[in-house]
Each structure stands twice: as structure tokens, then as C-alpha cells.
Symmetry: C2
DNA sequence: CGAGTACATTGCAGAAGGTGCAACGAGGAG
DNA sequence: CTCCTCGTTGCACCTTCTGCAATGTACTCG
């Protein structure tokens, strides 16, 4: 649509992979060197690329600062990272940290299972997660104020990914009530039939649920029941992270 | 220089901070909505931004994937992260992980000192480090094959940042020999007069030095001598990371 | 329930910005 | 010392981007 921008993006990608000379850049885009030069200079001004002493262009720190900015709450990530790692080691399963940002829930950290899983989980840091067909999504939704929950679900078009998906508002609300009562959520293959999860909420200093940790496994590795056996560790991890964020559990 | 690209970058920045509606986007840039729309659509195609159900634009996962790609060697980061954290906790000082990428040395991870330092270190993940006026730079240089060292230093213009800077090739080479012999490097305020560092090399499975860990403090907090007392921990951390990368120390 | 409002989206003509050319400059190799 | 390659600059042309106006769509309020 906007080809100069497309060209710029193309160059960013290349530069991130491998140092790029001006002539290479022009070659890749199939444009004149002067054109490539101007694009690179613009990107350099934004520190999206950086010019090395040798005259090659490489990715710049601007991009990383941006992702940091976007992933926001580096606090949360920083505090959570060692706990996630611990949890991964103790359970052996893949661990996710997801957070509500804007209108959606995205993964902000992930610790892969140490096992040489034949099957890689497709989740990626920065990706949005289904808000109603995931354990992290449901556990966050469950603790959101009524109006907030309504706002998030207002635009959602429910889709029945698998037989277990809660694919309408009524059954989802019932599930959320259940989740809210027991304090954790599961994902019984609700998005991908063979992927199981258990998730627990993370609270900030005001007690608001703002994120969630989960452990995930494909059914071949562990059934949902087996995952649920790890629940004490999961809940402890979530609580520990919450405490680091300044949360003090009310004595109820 | 290329204003459509500048505009695109501007929008990326905004979207990373806060969900953005089309009208806002147009307002920010001072252009017509249709213009803003086309830019956003282009960015969306590259997944630099993503459109939420509510119609707002937020940062997209493409950016994060890019930084991951650029920081490369996620292996190194992953393996190193917990060790760095440990080292930070034990020493109390800021810990850096730097790596040789292309022609330069960049920080690929950082664990800030837990202390409420009045002075923040200006280092940032993704930023390039001076190759000859930093502990990490020198320790990596010291173990590089002769030709590689020459290549990296060929384009360098030496600058005497402070009285302690090794500002010419001859004195730098002498220093590198010393570093190579004892197995670690210091930065005695060679770039910024009040910033002290001690760094140790990290090796990959072939035994090549590819990165370095360092502990850093401003002189008010700790003198170089005090940092050197932490040397055993630093060296142990470096070796542990090297082992995780598959390095097996030769019995010399 | 229906009109009104606010917002996103599309097509098109004009114009501004981007493009390629050619010439210059700098650095390295032989 | 000369040639060659690569990065950089100024400029005229033309492609591409822009803004307008009209259409479509979703939400609101009477």
C-alpha cells in the first residue's frame, strides 16, 4: 500500500538478520542506491538501524526500546522472570506470563519446557491470546470488574474452536464464576484440542488482577489432571509475584 | 528525509505507548485520516501494529520478533539470565551481558542494581559499547584471533574520553595482552571517569570467546578494588554460562 | 424503533515528495 | 600512483502519496 514504508520495513528486517551495506540494501529492494540511502538515513534517525564503523547498517537500539515500551510493565517481567524459571524447572512444563494490555491479553514472557518437545507451542511473546479460550484469559476475565469484562467481551465474536470451547457469553460467564470462586482456571483443550493449561492470577499492589501465570502441556505429555497436581506450585508462584508487586493478601 | 517513513515511525511509537484510534493517529501526524489509515494498514501488514477488536491500533508482535531476531542468540540470553540475576543479587551491583555481533559489541542483557541508585547507568540493551574503552569490550578483544581483532579495530578512531583511556593501538594491545593473561578485564573509568567495571569472558562450545559478563558500579558506590573482590563470583558466573553453552574447560 | 452522529473506509485528481541519473568524493588494492 | 569500488550529493522528472468528498457502518439517544 505505501511502498516506501514497505521498503523501509524490508530493510529493517534484513538489517536485523545481518549487517547490510548500502549497495546490498539497494539490491535487495531493487532501487537506486540513493533511494536506499535515504531510507536508511531516516531509519537511522529513529535509531531503528545503526551505522557501524565499517559503514554497514545493523539493527538499532530504537527497536528494542520500543519492544520494552510496548511490553510495558518491565517491572512485572523483571520481578516475574526468576519465578517463572523456577516454576518451569519444578514442573517441567512450559510456563507463560500473560498480561492485560489495552483491549487484549498478550504473552509478555515465556519459559519453554526444557524437554526436547517434538511439538513446539506456537505461543510467542507479544502475541495476543484468545481472551475466552485460554486459561490465562479466563482467569484474568474472572477477576475483572463487571463493566471492564463487558467492555472486553463486547467486540468478541465467539468461535467454537474445539468441542470444549465456551463459545457463548452465557456459558463463559458461568465458567468465569466458577473460576473466580476457586481461584484458578484451566484450559481443557478449548483452543487447540491437545493443549492443556492451568492458570493463576497475579495482582498488583491495589489487589487488582492484572496478569496471569500458566503452565501448559500438550496432552501427550501431561493430562489436565496431571497439570492440576502442580497447582500448589503454580499458586505459590503467582502469589510470590503478586507480593513482589506490592500485593498484600487480605486476611479473609 | 523521507517523511512518510518518519510518519510511520511516529505512529509505531505512539501505538507502542497506548492504543491508538485512527482519528487520533491522523491528529498526531497532522494529516488526513485516509493518509493515517494507509500508513497503519501498511504497518499492520508487517505486524508492526495490530488492530484490536475495538478498532484501535496497538503495537504488534512483529516488533518483538524482530528484536528477538536482532538480539540473536536467544540461547545465550536464556541460559545467562538466571545466572546474571544471581550475580546481581550476590554482588549488589549492576550486571551486564555483552556480545560481539557483526562489527560491534552490544549489550544484550542487563540486570539493574537493586539499590535505588540516584545515578542511573546509561547503558541500554541493544546499545553498542565502546570496544576499547569498556571492560566487556577489552575482554572480548583480548581473546579474539589476531586477524579478527585487527578487523574490528581497523575502523576505530581512538578518542581519549578520560585520562585512563587506552587511546592508541599500542597501549591498547599491551593492555589486551595483560587481560588475556589474567583472564579478566577492568574498566578504570576509561569511558566515564566515575564508572568502574570488571568483566569476564564467556565461551561457546568451541571454546571461542563470544560474549562477556561484567559488574559495574559508580565510584561513589564501590571502588575498582572493591569490585575486584567480587571477581571469584564473576568468574564463576562466566564459567557457568559457558558450560551451559556447551563449553568444557580444557585441562591445561 | 428510527433518526442522528461519529467514525472508518474507498476513489480519484492534484501535487508534493520520492526516485534515478550523473557527477563528485573517499578509501583500498594492486 | 592509478584504478576501481563504494558511499554521498544536487537536481529534474515522474511516481506515489495526499486530501477531499462521498459512502458505509456501528453506536446513541430520543
Amino acid at each position: 500500500m505505501a511502498q516506501s514504508i514497505e521498503r523501509a520495513i524490508n530493510l529493517i528486517r534484513r538489517a536485523a538478520e545481518h549487517p547490510l551495506t548500502l549497495t546490498e540494501a539497494a539490491g535487495v529492494l531493487g532501487v537506486h542506491k540513493s533511494t536506499a540511502l535515504r531510507i536508511l538515513q531516516t531509519l537511522e534517525a529513529a535509531r531503528f538501524v545503526r551505522k557501524t564503523g565499517a559503514g554497514t547498517y545493523v539493527f538499532g537500539s530504537g527497536l528494542i526500546e520500543l519492544s520494552d515500551l510496548a511490553l510495558g510493565s518491565m517491572d512485572l517481567r523483571q520481578f516475574a522472570a526468576p519465578q517463572l524459571r523456577d516454576l518451569q524447572r519444578k514442573t517441567g512444563h512450559t510456563v507463560h506470563l500473560a498480561q492485560l494490555t489495552g483491549d487484549e491479553i498478550i504473552y509478555i514472557d515465556k519459559v519453554d519446557s526444557a524437554a526436547f518437545d517434538a511439538v513446539k507451542l506456537p505461543s510467542r511473546i507479544g502475541r495476543a491470546v484468545s481472551i475466552y479460550a485460554s486459561a490465562v484469559g479466563k482467569v484474568i476475565l474472572a477477576y475483572l470488574p463487571r463493566e471492564e469484562r463487558d467492555r472486553l467481551l463486547a467486540h468478541v465474536e465467539f468461535e467454537r474452536y474445539t468441542p470444549t470451547t465456551f463459545a457463548d457469553r452465557a456459558s463463559l460467564d458461568a465458567e468465569l464464576t466458577r473460576v473466580g470462586e476457586r481461584g484458578w482456571a484451566t484450559d481443557n483443550g478449548e483452543h487447540d484440542a491437545y493443549v492443556m493449561c492451568v492458570a493463576a492470577p497475579i495482582r498488583d499492589s491495589r489487589g487488582h488482577v492484572i496478569a496471569a501465570v500458566s503452565i501448559t502441556a500438550i496432552e501427550v505429555i501431561a493430562t489436565l489432571g496431571q497439570l492440576e497436581q502442580r497447582l500448589p506450585m503454580l499458586l505459590e508462584t503467582a502469589e510470590r509475584i503478586s507480593r513482589e508487586l506490592g500485593y498484600t493478601p487480605a486476611e479473609s
